[in-house]
């Protein structure tokens, strides 16, 4: 007679696994990747390839030679970090800077905390912020879309958010600034300057639909961020439409959609309960708009997400799910 296996219940499993979830997010990013390649050409391909390969390689090297852990470099999490890192860099960034960003993402933001599942801050964003502080010039010159073969020689310009921020500082009214902006349709299709992966609103929304359909993420974080932004900027814009741009402009420009859909929803660094997710989402929305409207930087999504990442352990500690059969008071 053969020997049976004995284990505690349950004896079936959903079949869900870390690689499936991670590669699921990668698939959701593919439409945006395709659009970005269409606009930024060879530059996009180079930085994406460098970023993904170096993230996976660094993860492998750290685990094999420093931590001596079982290797998880192929489980998709490093590849996803690499892809997200590339998405929030300008497409004309020198490849060695991208590699440094990947080293910071994996080495400092992820592995020093104990690897997958233990990091406090989103690794891709930490890498991005590190590059932003170390190489401010390179990180704020964005290539104009439509230059296929120019990688580092591409003509550059300012992003819509950058233009908006600077013009407002020069006391130009919003209506006048908007006249020089790409049309809303262009913004929606992604024909604008910006970080490599953040431009294509429609492709990112397609990714959101895929993530929700596959139940990889729940709607709470992206929806609460976007709703907060709409309400906050809507109120400002209603109060003084010549000083504050419309909610639609805020939604379609900068890294808001990329951040709300793919960065803020990172499992490891976001809260565990529905209530916690909504608090977290509102926090990100408010901080983003505060930075965009009143801060020194034109864009604030990365900082907002990183700040709320820091609050996540606190939220997890104090915000508990609704328990079944909780005694109702009164």
């Amino acid at each position: 007679m053969s020997i049976f296996t004995v284990s505690p219940s349950p004896h079936v499993h959903s079949g869900q696994s870390v690689p499936r979830l991670m590669y699921g997010v990668v698939i959701a990013l593919l439409p945006a990747l395709a659009v970005s390649v269409f606009y930024f050409g060879i530059g996009m391909i180079i930085i994406t390839a460098v970023s993904v390969i170096s993230c996976v390689l660094f993860e492998f090297l750290f685990q094999k030679y420093l931590l001596k852990n079982p290797s998880t470099h192929l489980d998709g999490s490093a590849a996803l970090t690499g892809l997200l890192l590339a998405f929030c860099l300008p497409a004309n960034l020198p490849w060695w800077m991208v590699a440094i960003g990947a080293l910071v993402s994996i080495g400092i933001a992820k592995m020093t905390f104990g690897g997958l599942g233990n990091n406090i801050f989103n690794p891709a964003l930490v890498g991005r912020v590190f590059l932003f502080i170390s190489f401010p010039a390179a990180m704020t010159s964005y290539p104009k879309p439509g230059q296929w073969w120019e990688y580092m020689d591409a003509t550059t310009g300012a992003t819509p958010l950058g233009i908006m921020s600077e013009s407002l500082a020069n006391n130009m009214p919003v209506s006048e600034i908007m006249a020089g902006m790409p049309s809303n349709l262009d913004l929606f299709l992604g024909k604008m300057l910006g970080s490599a992966g953040e431009v294509a609103a429609f492709a990112l929304l397609l990714g959101l639909v895929y993530l929700l359909w596959k139940k990889i993420i729940s709607w709470h974080i992206p929806v609460s961020i976007l709703l907060t932004v709409i309400i906050f900027t809507g109120a400002l814009s209603l109060g003084n439409p010549e000083k504050y741009p419309s909610p639609l402009f805020h939604l379609l420009t900068g890294g808001l959609l990329l951040g709300a859909i793919f960065m803020a929803t990172d499992y490891v660094t976001s809260p565990m309960t529905v209530k916690g997710m909504i608090i977290y989402g509102i926090g990100i929305g408010v901080i983003t708009i505060l930075i965009r409207t009143f801060g020194a930087y034109p864009e604030g999504v990365q900082f907002a997400i990183l700040l709320m990442n820091g609050f996540t352990p606190l939220i997890n500690k104090y915000v508990k799910p609704k328990r079944f059969g909780e005694v109702k008071h009164g």
Partner: protein, 443 residues
């Protein structure tokens, strides 16, 4: 919109291969092994000795306290041994082993299969008959039924809920019982309503059994106060608290019982056994067991005598498949894996599930990626990831404040975890320790 419970839940593959198989009567095995502890509570006290002659339905061990139940012989013959035999955990527990000879029943049992609709017993008489029959909850929890029927002072039952959800994948024992013994179940429901002195009874049936819903609704139309509700398919709807919430939208408070919100729930199998006990004087000596699995040749439902070795059931479906990796006593979500086929069928065995070796082993455990899937799957609103890490660090006091004792071990967390972490294993460990802490505090 179909009714269901609100918090959490998962939807495993249903795999109900045997749902349209007739209930077959399994031949009486040559030897049965009947454990003395087949229920929650005190073990029964043995009344027979080696060499005694016993008849079918004879009490071989009497209830060992209020929360306990009588045990009857399921065959007629000679007592071979009164000794410790392995139960489904492998630990050896006191059991009575009887060799079957002939087919002699105790007096007073009505062996005809005729439907006997009318009864004229008082509530107390019904409870007495149920105590005598050794009835326990046949859904798997094996809580002695008369305890639920004896409503404590100051509380009042309003509803009888009949649990015909059968939310465990693979199992079809309750389904087939409803299709074949619908009339009897209706009589049993009226008996239980009388015992509880309630006017209303509700059947909860999941929507993956449309034929049973149709049949039971038709039968219920003739009865006063009995309704049948179709429920959305979601595990663990068969949990008492979940079912009460799904059907009448009342939430049983943490640490309380359904009776605290005016409800008593019985499994549909128990209702049928109550009919047998009250109308036919037939004690609980057999039950319907589903024998199933992906590579089992002929998955079926069998009316099986208590004490039959699992091997006999496996033989009846065409033998153990070549690729067997695991055999589970019960359903895949809450059943117990057994290490030997000599284990006997007991009152709580609702199914025998054979799992092929490709699915028998767990996946490699990985780091928690904090995806919160366990939190959203937990039907009790707990945080399994947190409970597991607390249990690993032995912070049992904190586990208590995080409501670990509300866990009913449905397994939804471990089922859904993408890192295949043994969440429920550690939560059970914590529950055991918290139980000890609570007990120590009381003394």
């Amino acid at each position: 919109m179909l009714k269901t419970f609100t918090l959490g839940g998962v939807h495993p593959e249903e795999n109900k291969f045997s749902s349209h198989k007739k209930i077959e009567v399994l031949p009486v095995p040559p030897v049965v092994t009947i454990p003395l502890s087949q229920h929650i509570g005190a073990p029964a006290k043995v009344l027979v000795n080696k060499g005694d002659r016993v008849k079918i339905g004879q009490v071989i061990a009497e209830s060992g306290g209020f929360v306990s139940a009588n045990i009857h012989s399921s065959v007629s013959g000679t007592v071979l041994k009164v000794e410790a035999f392995p139960d489904s955990t492998g630990y050896r527990r006191m059991s009575v082993q009887i060799q079957s000879e002939g087919d002699e029943w105790v007096d007073g049992v009505d062996l005809s299969t005729d439907l006997k609709k009318d009864f004229d017993f008082s509530s107390e008489e019904i409870i007495q008959k149920i105590i005598a029959s050794g009835l326990v909850g046949l859904g798997g929890a094996t809580f002695p039924s008369h305890v639920k029927l004896s409503i404590p002072q100051g509380k009042k039952a309003e509803y009888l809920i009949v649990n015909a959800v059968e939310c465990e994948p693979y199992l079809t024992a309750d389904h087939s019982l409803m299709l074949e013994k619908g009339e009897e179940i209706m009589v049993g429901t009226r008996i239980m309503m009388k015992a509880l002195k309630v006017e209303k009874a509700i059947f909860g049936i999941e929507n993956n059994k449309p034929d049973a819903i149709e049949l039971m609704s038709r039968l219920a139309e003739r009865e006063k106060g009995i309704t049948v509700v179709a429920l959305k398919v979601k595990y663990p709807q068969g949990g008492e608290k979940q079912l009460v919430q799904a059907l009448i939208n009342r939430e049983v408070p943490s640490g309380a019982l359904p009776i605290d919100v005016g409800v008593v729930a019985f499994n549909v199998g128990s209702i049928y056994a109550a009919y047998q006990a009250v109308q036919k004087n037939k004690p609980l000596i057999e039950r319907v067991v589903t024998v199933t699995g992906k590579s089992v040749k002929n998955p079926s439902n069998f009316l099986t005598r208590i004490g039959t070795p699992v091997q006999a059931l496996i033989d009846a479906v065409g033998g153990l498949p070549e690729d067997t990796g695991k055999v589970v006593n019960g359903g895949p979500m809450m059943g117990k894996a057994i290490s030997s086929l000599d284990v006997p069928v007991v009152k709580g065995s609702s199914g025998i599930l054979v799992i092929p070796d490709t699915e028998a082993n767990r996946h490699e455990t990985e780091n928690c990626i904090r995806c919160s899937k366990c939190v959203s799957a937990c039907p009790m609103g707990l945080e399994p990831y947190l409970l597991m890490s607390l249990a690993e660090r032995e912070y049992f006091g904190r586990m208590e404040t995080e409501k670990v004792m509300d866990c009913m071990e449905c397994g939804s967390c471990s089922y859904t975890c993408p890192s295949s972490r043994p969440l429920l294993d550690y939560i059970r460990l914590g529950k055991g320790n918290v139980t000890q802490i609570i007990r120590a505090r009381k003394n």
